[in-house]
């Protein structure tokens, strides 16, 4: 696999048009299986085909149960400078319910090791909206979390997708998705809590101390080009998106014959406008009307002024200096509101 990925790097070396690489992210799937020499090979190959900025954010995704002092040392020595750890919760009952491989003891242990390590930039994932949890247990999780002073936090609401274990449970009536009211209350608890601890709520699910925004995540919302490597990885060249095949075997075979097994998703201007609306409205930076006008040639106010006025009046958004931003209440409805502004034929 690593060989194939390196081959992909080689074949795709002009995808980013020689741009300087600002961030690298090892994630999605099982980077924990990656051994030192493999990590070295990949980073070396990237370096050979691209110029990596000296300031680049290089993140490695990990679960609490695959963190150890030696592993941390190895990652740091090989140039990783940021960790993203899937803590989810410190509640053992919930961890078990969610079928997580780790328990709370491992979570605490891993965090202590990280604190003692050379990593000063790390992000912790926390999950809420769990039907069997309560507001009280949620607050407790948050308290424990900030105790470790993570510079960055991502917090996601549990969603139940059709073809998953939870989906089947739900179908069988074994599980009820948390009510909208419960989930939104938890969201307010989260934002209020982290605000008090000086985290900036810079995107619906992302919070950071000053200077610790994730460069990598932010680039997705700013329509910056990126190159994804490996099975089911996706890339974006600033115009179109492409998806690698998800089947490992087929991926490997294709690369053996020097082919990129990717499917192209051609984005029309409307698609790009819609994507910008959808992603930018989730962020604290908001949607820049001048960017829309100048880059995508779309005058939002001309098309949707009454709609936006109505939102403004009901406290869902603010419009200032050509920037449209959602309020906290608005962000909870970001999908609905973005879709209302969408262009479709």
């Amino acid at each position: 696999m690593v060989e194939a990925i390196c081959k992909e790097i080689e074949l795709q070396d002009d995808y980013l048009n020689g741009a300087i690489i600002e961030s690298i992210y090892f994630g999605g799937g099982t980077p924990s299986l990656l051994e030192e020499n493999q990590l070295k090979t990949i980073l070396k190959t990237i370096d050979r085909h691209h110029s990596i900025s000296s300031e680049a954010e290089i993140t490695f995704e990990a679960n609490p149960d695959d963190i150890s002092p030696s592993r941390l040392r190895m990652l740091f020595q090989n140039g990783i400078n940021r960790l993203s750890v899937g803590i989810q919760t410190f509640d053992d009952e919930v961890l078990k319910w969610m079928n997580r491989a780790h328990n709370s003891r491992e979570a605490f242990q891993s965090l202590e090791w990280i604190k003692q390590s050379e990593f000063n930039n790390f992000s912790l994932d926390l999950i809420y909206g769990i039907p069997i949890a309560t507001h009280k247990s949620w607050e407790k999780d948050l308290k424990t979390l900030v105790g470790f002073e993570p510079p960055h936090i991502s917090s996601y609401c549990l969603t139940i997708e059709p073809n998953t274990v939870f989906g089947r449970w739900q179908q069988k009536g074994k599980l009820n998705e948390a009510s909208e009211d419960y989930a939104s209350e938890q969201f307010y608890i989260l934002t209020e809590f982290l605000r008090k601890f000086q985290y900036e709520h810079y995107e619906v699910s992302n919070f950071a101390k000053e200077g610790f925004h994730s460069k990598h995540n932010s680039s997705y919302w700013q329509q910056k080009p990126y190159l994804g490597l490996g099975p089911s990885a996706h890339s974006y060249d600033g115009k179109n998106r492409q998806f690698n095949i998800s089947n490992n075997g087929k991926y490997l075979n294709a690369l053996k014959t020097n082919e990129i097994p990717a499917e192209l998703d051609i984005l029309t201007t409307e698609d790009r406008i819609n994507e910008y609306l959808m992603t930018s409205l989730r962020t604290a930076k908001g949607c820049n009307l001048l960017y829309l006008k100048n880059t995508l040639n779309y005058d939002l106010l001309r098309n949707a002024k009454p709609q936006i006025e109505q939102w403004k009046n009901s406290g869902l958004c603010i419009l200032e200096d050509d920037i449209l931003k959602l309020t906290l209440r608005g962000r909870l409805l970001a999908d609905k509101l973005a879709s209302d502004l969408f262009l479709v034929n």
């Binding site: 998106r241 959808m278 509101l337």
Partner: protein, 594 residues
Amino acid sequence: MKNIRNFCIIAHIDHGKSTLADRLLDSTQTVNEREKMEQLLDNMDLERERGITIKSHAIQMEYKLNGEEYTYNLIDTPGHVDFSYEVSRSIAACEGALLIVDAAQGIQAQTISNLYLAIEHDLEIIPVLNKIDLPGAMVEEVSDQIIELIGCKKEDILHASAKEGIGIAEILEAIAHRIPAPTGDPNAPLQAMVFDSVFNPYRGIEVYFRVFNGEISKGDKIKFINTGKTYEADEIGILKLTQQPKQTISTGNVGYLISGIKVAKEVKVGDTVTHVDNPGKAVQGFENVKPMVYAGIYPVETSEFEELRASMEKLQLNDASLVWEPETSAALGFGFRCGFLGMLHMEIVQERLEREFDMTVITTVPSVQFHAFKKDGEMVKVSAPSELPDLGSIDYLEEPYIRAQIITKEDFVGPVISLCMDKRGEIKNQVYLTQSRVELTFHLPLAEIVFDFFDKLKTISKGYASLDYELVGYHTSNLVKLDILLNGDKVDALSAIVHRDKAYEWGKKLCEKLKELIPRQQFEIAVQAAIGTKVIARESVKALRKNVLAKCYGGDISRKRKLLEKQKKGKKRMRQVGNVEIPQEAFMAVLKLD
């Protein structure tokens, strides 16, 4: 001319008209092996999907008998009550009719009503007992019913199975022998009656006609008597499976005409075509249609009003029973008040507008036409709740009543009667057609039967009931106007005129239904039903509090954009009234109140 036979096939729905037409076309080799398919003449997608005939279809066959060559013009007709106007127009172009009766089902309501139409026009009737292959065929019993109904001899009844191809040769032969050739004078001035038309985007309007006197040739200068417009007959021909151009169509025959007419309004079904020089008189066309139900049709996009008008004009060419005039709604803007022959007709019109003309429309709550008598003696016809005069000025209201003929099995008489009573009906007559088959006659308010009555009737009779009805007049009734308010604003398109005794239940159910159908928005929506200023029912659509996916990185973006685009497209089928988005189905919700 002596070898021309013009005939139609009439029957109750599903008795086998279209299947028999297939067999006749096969036997006369009008269609070849490759073109063959079941219910071939039902060529509209909608007809094929629903398995019913909506339009009459004309087709010409050649038939040889004892060395003589015959020209057969066949018109297949729909069976459902809502399309009886199609049937009556076909009948006017014919000298004879094959009356098909399903041997397992016997005489049904539309067997009778279509038969009467044919008799009124002096058509020669050839009774055909179809589906004799079925194990449940009751040949003797149904033959007796037929004899009693039309007073024919037993040996006049042909036995057939359209499905198995039994008895087809006998039918073809009987047509030649029993149906009279058309009469008419080939040397007289031209009189050709338009019985149908269709809009063809490439060639303009195609007109289907039957020549009663004289003849028409390619290149003739012709005139439509009713509209007074003149054209040149660019192309004329006969209707085979496809059109076949001819030089001349002579007296008694059926054909099509293309003369570059682009404006839908210039063609009226029932009009007479004649020559500019030596013109003939108009032949008697058809009676004007009497719509049973009225509803507003509005474009979903207000800007598409003119486009909708053009589409309706084109559709009207092919559906002469559709009538309409412009109207304005406070909630929906500019649209049309349309008259339909029934709910199925209304549904078909809406679907055809969408499919054939790509128009997304909203249909408002259907209503019958009421009569409002004002204190000053004036009578106002009210076919939409908004047309109701100020209550203070009204003396009394009348609603239309129908006489309904229901044929069912003895076992279901009880349930049928109680259904009709529940619908404010009054039983007028009860006749045993045979030992186990009963014909019931009721007087009922039309408003009670146009919506879901027929479905209910079918359910309670396990399918063994057929219904036919006609208007019989107006009666005073205790009616009220029920309004629906969304967030305090009256939505005129959702108002209805209902009987006072039923207003409360109607309001309650409608509010519940709207609560289900109106998508949640970022604010709460109050749904209220009111009579005058008195609110009689209320519900609320809770505010949407959370609608955001947690993750939005890389590949999520495409997936999610597509999802939200779908959502937005769904919204295009909604109409914004005030700040509330109302989906298209909500306007029809009243039809599905239980």
